[in-house]
Each structure stands twice: as structure tokens, then as C-alpha cells.
């Protein structure tokens, strides 16, 4: 049985290349070996100090080592919008800093409520929870390394410190991540259905907005409250689709939007009736 690349070590890989491609790749394997050694000795020469570190220290050092990663973080919403730095997810020490950040708990401290509940009740969420103790969290966030995706697997795939699920990354990136386990056709169909579900939720929003706009006489806070509720439930539909939670797509989403529309209409009907009664009394 063929072994996955990630399952074999550096030396074994070089040996295998040497053995399988006998002779012609001999030089390559030597170069590969030297590369491995060089990498090892560099790391050995500069072992990462244990910490703790301040935010500035993390950034100074890692700007040199992983400029790309720092750039992604700077451009991403964590840094740009919220001022979330390294230690918020990684802790202040080097030891197990990647493992800490890869686990769902590093996200759910801030992303609570529907955002995390829609995920934690999804199939991905529950299996990740059940497998937590068995999962090897030292593995990079790449396909084949995790039984189910945790928050970081999708949103920081391949340690990309921007959000790999952000809308501006485009559907291809998202589809590639899902397709590490699911058939590409299934992923495409699921995405297409998700888009249709969202379009439907948006039609409900449009319907609600135009009803509210028609109720110029209503000066109470009832309709603004219902508008807020519409937007909240539309967001639930999005979370339900993104995290594959049937409950958020449905009970917290579409029928909840239907309820908002009913209540907006009822409000309008009642005020029309009251108004015509008042007009009649004036006459």
C-alpha cells in the first residue's frame, strides 16, 4: 500500500526517490539530503526560545521568518478591524502555541452565540469534539491531516493567516478546502444550493424592506425592531449554510424570516385599520 507523503520522514523520502528512480535522480537525492540537513542545523542552531513574549517581540521575529504570514494577518480582519494579535490565539509561549491556536476553543472564546453554535451542532463540529483527544493537532492544517474540519482548518487553511473562507477569496478556495474530503461535484452542488438558499433569504429581506417602506405612518419602534430581526435571521441562514447546520438554515433561519414577514404585515394591517377608524371618527 502506498504511504502518504506526510507519513514518511525526510530520509525515507530521499531513499525512496533514490531507489525508485535509480541512478538518474541520485544527485537530486543528495541535494535533498543536504537541504534536510541544512534546515535541521539552522533550526538546531537557533532553537525557538520558550517565551513568554510580548506582541512586538512576536511580530519583530516573525516578520523576518514568515513575512507572508504577518502580511496576511495585517490585512485580515483580526488585525485590521479588531486589533487581535498573536497571543490572543497562540498564547504567550512558544510551547504548543500552534496546537493551542488550531483547536476550536481558541476561536469560540470570542466567536460565541450563533456563529459557534451553528458549527458546534453540525456534523463537523460534533465529530471534531469527539475526536479532539485522538486527533494529532501537531499536523499542519492541510488536507488529509484532520478527520473533520475545526474552525482553523477552514478559516486558516494551510496556516494562511487571512481568512481563507472570506468572501473575497472566491469560491474556488473554499471548494478546494471542502474537496479534501468531499467529491468536487458534491461540493459544487452544495455551494450552488447554498447560494440559492441565500437568494431566497434575500428575497424575504427585500419583501420585508419594501413592506416597511410602505408603512410611512407608523412612527413606533415596532417596524425597526422587526427589520433588525429580519437581518438577524438572514444571517442565521448564512451561518447555517456556511457551517452546514440544518437547524440554522431552517428553524433559526427561513421559517423565522417567514415569521418576521407575517408580523410586519400584521403591524401594517392593524395600523391601516386604526387609521381608517380614526379618519372615520374625524369625519
Amino acid at each position: 500500500m502506498r504511504k502518504a507523503i506526510s507519513d514518511v520522514g525526510c530520509g525515507e523520502l530521499a531513499n525512496r526517490i533514490c531507489r525508485e528512480r535509480c541512478g538518474s535522480y541520485l544527485t537530486t537525492s543528495y541535494i535533498f539530503g543536504i537541504f534536510c540537513l541544512a534546515t535541521y542545523s539552522t533550526l538546531a542552531a537557533e532553537p525557538a526560545p520558550p517565551g513568554p513574549f510580548t506582541e512586538t517581540e512576536c511580530i519583530t521575529c516573525h516578520t523576518e521568518r514568515d513575512p507572508n504570514l504577518i502580511r496576511q494577518w495585517r490585512e485580515g480582519s483580526h488585525s485590521a478591524d479588531s486589533g487581535i494579535g498573536c497571543s490572543n490565539c497562540h498564547g504567550e509561549n512558544h510551547k504548543e502555541s500552534a496546537i493551542i491556536a488550531r483547536k476550536d476553543q481558541s476561536c469560540t472564546g470570542c466567536h460565541e452565540g450563533p456563529a459557534s453554535h451553528s458549527y458546534s451542532t453540525s456534523k463537523h463540529g460534533i465529530i471534531t469534539r469527539l475526536e479532539e483527544a485522538r486527533q494529532d493537532w501537531r499536523q499542519p492544517l492541510q488536507r488529509g491531516n484532520y478527520r473533520t474540519p475545526g474552525c482553523s482548518y477552514c478559516h486558516l487553511h494551510n496556516s494562511d493567516h487571512g481568512d481563507t473562507m472570506a468572501p473575497d477569496r472566491g469560491p474556488e478556495v473554499r471548494q478546494w478546502i471542502c474537496a479534501g474530503c468531499h467529491s468536487p461535484r458534491y461540493v459544487r452542488e452544495l455551494f450552488a444550493n447554498g447560494n440559492r438558499q441565500l437568494e431566497i433569504a434575500d428575497l424575504k429581506l427585500t419583501e420585508g424592506e419594501s413592506l416597511i417602506a410602505s408603512a410611512v405612518d407608523d412612527q413606533t419602534d415596532a417596524l425597526p425592531k422587526l427589520r433588525k430581526s429580519l437581518n438577524h435571521h438572514r444571517h442565521n441562514v448564512l451561518l447555517g449554510i456556511a457551517h452546514q447546520s440544518p437547524d440554522y438554515q431552517w428553524w433559526h433561519g427561513q421559517p423565522a424570516l417567514d415569521g418576521d414577514l407575517i408580523r410586519i404585515r400584521d403591524r401594517i394591517l392593524q395600523s391601516r385599520r386604526r387609521k381608517s377608524l380614526a379618519d372615520n371618527l374625524e369625519e
Binding site: M1, R2, A4, T121, S122, K123, I126, I127, R129, L130, R143, G144, Y146, R147, A179, G180, C181, S183, R185, Y186, E189, L190, A192, N193, R196, Q197, E199, I200, L203, K204, T206, E207, S210, L211, S245, P246, D247, Q249, W250, W251, H252, G253, Q254, P255, D258, G259, L261, I262, R263, R265, D266, I268, L269, Q270, R273, R274, S276, L277, N280, L281
Partner: protein
Amino acid sequence: MRNRIIIPLIITLLAVPAGFAYVHWSKGGTGTGLYSRYWSPDPVQGYWDPANFYQSPDSVQGIFAGEQCVQCHEGITPGIVNDWRASRHAQREETVYCNDCHGNDHQQLRLPTPDVCGNCHAKQHDEFRDEARYGFPSHVLAMERAVDAKHFVDKPKAEVQSCVQCHSVATKCDSCHSRHRFDAAEARRPEACITCHSGPPHPDDETYFASAHGKLYLAEGNNWDWSKPLTKGNYKAPTCAYCHMDNGRHQVAEKSLWKFGLREINPHTSKNQVLRKKWIKLCSDCHEEEKARQWLTELDQERKQAWQKLYMAEAILKDLRSDRLLQPAAGERPPYPMDWLDSLWPRERIGFFEGQASVFYNVSAIERDYFEMWYFDNLGAYKSAAHSNPAGVEAGHRKMVASLDRIETQANELRKLSQAEKKAEIRIKPSGDLWMKGAYTDYNREHN
């Protein structure tokens, strides 16, 4: 005298085959179920109901042996190959390969249905199929229940895909035995159920986790040996599967006494006495029989109180209907596409068995409140009572009282308004087309 026998006999002889022929005809459309002629599936539905809608891919040509599937998919979809390797399918001597369930021909691949799993797992499959005898609600009839619901037929099929995701528990085995590990130990844990058994109408997750049983599970469950069968003495606290699938029996509806809390039942019929004995026997795996009997009585009492409140709400709504105070009136609402009777005789549907489960849209606000009281508050209270979570019972009943208050207040206001209109000699202004038009409402009308 002769005519009295012959005429009904002839009518019966004609009507019964005609009925069968009609049902057969009605199931022959592009969808499935009783209203199959009124809807067509969303493309993704093939993945939730493979027996009826799955279409094999045409991307790859060829006939492959199991090891070839694995070799190729190791690169394409490594996640599922790893999962399969860790499964008993891969680890047993006579390996169960991809092609054993999906087929060899890549252009004729199938998504495994319960029948495919049943080729080897005959006992579980037979039990699962046999669950149909308990009627609704049950796992095996869940898809039927979904597609025969009026809102499923009416609403755009892309929207109601969220329904079939959970209702696919009838059409696939991986709702509980997640692919491609299919681990019985995983399916025994409460988490295997909660993707579907959560949310307002069935908060089984919250109510169980808040109970003494659930708390014990949350504190210690990770250390229990889940490879053990669901039998007496193997688990320190009961889980969903321990009670609802005791001894691994694949029939969750087997002991269903209160039918999900959806309808009022007589808990003491001879049939239900048998079920009560089964529950008492199960609880007595750990508790004294007398205690179990007492808990069942408490559940009966909780249900009685819940139904008293629900019937009060129902009476208010029926009175409003009799006095023609429900606005919009039935004729001023978008009708269901298959309900031709509605267009001849429009009637507001009040009552828990008059299609009430579909009454969450296109109705008046007071009817929606009534729906939420029944479907959310009541079911929350029921689940809490059944899972021994007293705080949840209290909260559920508090919500029901609040809903009932709101319904009463609204009804009084509707009456007052109508009286004032009568006094001022205003003919009650019908809601006109307020319920009939809108971006979504128009789209919905066009898309079944």
C-alpha cells in the same frame, strides 16, 4: 333491501381501486410522495435521497477494483480514505472496499442507501425498516413525512433542502454512522444525534445535557468505553441511544409513547401500558421500578397541563374563525399549489391535525403565535419533562403562559377593533393583496 346491499357494494368496488389508482398516479410525478406531481427536486436533493434522485457522475470513465479506487482517491480526497482506513471495513480480513458499496463502474456509481448497507448488516436493516409499523414520528418514515408536508411542496425546493438534510435519516445510514468511519462507538454517543435533534421544536440536546444524566455524561463520558453494547451495566448514565435504541435495536420509535409531544394521547391504553412497562423495565436498569413509575406519572401530568393550555389557545382561535375575525381571511392568502379544495372552499386551518405543522407562513400573526406556542414552547416543555430537566419544564410552561396571554390580548384587541369598526359603520377592510404580493411571495408562487 337488495339495492341497499348491491349499490354500496358496487360503489365500494369502484371507489377502492379508483383510490389506489389515484394514489399510484399521484406518486408518478417528478418529485416523490403524495404530491410528487406538484414539485421537482433541487439538484442537491440526490445526495439526501439517493434512491430517488442521485445521478452518477460522468467525469471519469472506467471500471475499477477497490485498491485502485483507494490509490487514486488518496490523492484526490485523502480525508475520506484516511477515515475508511481507520474503519472496521478496512481493517477486517475480508476488506470492504469502496466498490463494495459504490459499485465498480465510475459512470454508474451509486450513493449507498440503507438497502446497500443491509446487504451485510441485515439485522439492523430489518429492524430499521420494520420501524414503519410504529408510524410517525419515526426515523424510517422521516423522508415521507418531509416531502408530504404542504410547505415542502409549496416552497422553493432550494429552500426546503434544509428539511431533507435531517429527514434523510430515512434514506441513508450516515446520518448517525458518519462516513467513512461508520463507527458504532461514535453513533452511540449523544453528539451523533444532536445535529438534527436540536433547535426550537426538538431541543433534545439542551434538555438532555441539562439533566442529571446529561451532566454525568458531559463530565465523564469521554472516559467511558463506547465499544460496549447498549445494555444494562455498560454505561454509568443513559444516553440518547441507551434509552431510545436499547440493546442496539434500530427502532427509535419502538417505545414512543407521547409521539414527540405533537399530539395529545391517552397514556393508559392497553397498547401504551405495554410501552410504559418497557420504559419502567429500562429505567430499572439503574433505578427502582417505583421511582420510574412515578416519573412516568409526572410526565403524564406535565402533558395534561400543557394540553390544557394549548386547547385554550385553540378555542380562542376557533372563536375568531367562527366570527370571521382572522385577517387575512383564508381566501386572501396564497394557497398551496396542490390544495384545489382551498380555492373552492377557503378555510383557515386551526387544529393540531389540520395541516398545522405547515402553518408558519402565509397566515395571520395570531395563528403564527399559536403555531410557535405549540411547536416551540410546548415541545420544549415536553422534551424537558421526558429528559428529566425540571428547569426546562418550568421555562417551557412559562413561555406557554406568555404565549397564551399574548394570544388572548391580541384576540381581545381584534374584537374591540372590529366592534369599533361596526359602530362606525366601516365594513371591515379586508387585507386586500397585502399577503399576496412581495419579492419572495411572488417567487414562491412560481417555484415548486
